[in-house]
């Protein structure tokens, strides 16, 4: 159903030119920021990284959102090369579901942290409820994504 996408000009550029390395490195970069920044918030709210002021944590969230946009764009480019194969893989759908969950929990985290005039104690009490889910879901997206990346293996398994 999506196979016609594979032969659009954009898909051919990704497949046969420097679109692939560009999108791939961008995608790796974006996942490093999303997962890295959510780990920092997680660690800080659990009492580590004590030198970071709690009130600064909400300043990290805009960078996560910028990277979510980068990930959607670069991920779409990568997906265009084998649209049907990705969707057949099963784990790719799991990844998409996890991405949506990740966006929802990060929105909740943002709402919890960005109210004005919160004391440090309130930030940590409110943040801790959502930061666990945020860090875990983005980690799960990372794992599912790594496992999606080597789709060739499915063919090998089927051929066996």
């Amino acid at each position: 159903m999506f196979d016609w996408l594979e032969f659009t000009a954009v898909a051919l550029w990704v497949k046969e030119s420097w679109g692939w390395p560009l999108a791939l490195t961008l995608h790796a970069f974006g996942s490093a920021i999303i997962v890295g920044f959510s780990f920092i918030m997680f660690l800080r709210l659990f009492g580590m990284l004590g030198t970071i002021p709690l009130a600064s944590l909400k300043d990290l969230l805009p960078f996560i959102w910028v990277c979510v946009v980068i990930q959607v764009l670069s991920g779409t480019l990568l997906w265009l090369t084998k649209p049907g194969r990705y969707l057949e893989a099963g784990i790719f759908e799991l990844k998409l579901a996890l991405v949506i969950t990740g966006i929802v929990v990060t929105l909740h985290l943002q709402r919890a942290l960005s109210e004005t005039g919160l004391s440090a104690a309130m930030i940590s009490a409110r943040g801790i409820r959502f930061v666990v889910a945020t860090a875990l879901v983005w980690s799960a997206v990372l794992i599912a994504g790594r496992l999606t990346a080597y789709l060739g293996i499915y063919d090998a398994l089927i051929a066996r």
């Binding site: 890295g36 920044f37 659990f46």
Partner: protein, 182 residues
């Protein structure tokens, strides 16, 4: 010369069992930690965060070292599957050189932060995250040509993911205790 490594029990475990997905996801976590944490340092050194200066962020540097250890171990496991192929790949050689540069740049940045410097010396610290980003890019480009697997490999196994979680949990617990002591 390195072909014997390819047939050690360890390499065969990585190649044919869940060693591969285990090491691969661990390597992705390590990348996220090193690159994510050093980008935050970079942004604060450039004054992007209003309330968060690089001096306040100096406590993330020990985590970067933890990431480096994690990466060395998981990267070595991945490399054992095709040692000769990796070591002769120019992107991989570039990656190794960049890792050494990045470690040097991070050490230097740490020294600058500990001296409580401000202004230009701090902004030069941007070299450290840039070097790690270069490592990331070289790593992604290494992947392409090498990862065409002729052999079937179990791919996502629950035990691999579970072991990842246990390893990350141990790392977090260790760091938590270290933090309390200092």
């Amino acid at each position: 010369m390195l072909h014997w490594l390819e047939f050690t029990p360890l390499a065969i475990w990585v190649k044919e069992s869940w060693g591969w997905p285990f090491a691969l996801t661990l390597h992705a976590f390590g990348t996220a930690t090193i690159v994510g944490f050093s980008i935050i340092l970079c942004l604060s050194a450039l004054g992007v965060f209003r309330t968060l200066g690089p001096i306040a962020l100096r406590s993330v540097i020990p985590w970067i070292w933890f990431g480096v250890i994690l990466q060395t171990i998981s990267g070595f496991l991945l490399m054992t599957t095709k040692p000769a192929r990796y070591l002769t790949d120019s992107s991989f050689q570039l990656k190794l050189v960049l890792i050494i540069i990045a470690i040097g740049a991070t050490l230097h940045f740490k020294k600058t932060l500990n001296q409580g410097a401000a202004g230009w010396p701090i902004r030069l610290g941007v070299a450290s995250p840039l070097a790690w980003i270069a490592v990331l890019i070289a790593g992604e480009l290494t992947l392409g040509p090498i990862i065409e697997y002729p052999f079937p490999r179990p791919f996502y196994r629950l035990e691999a993911v579970a072991l990842d979680m246990v390893v990350m949990g141990i790392v977090f617990a260790l760091m938590h205790n270290l933090n309390k002591k200092t």
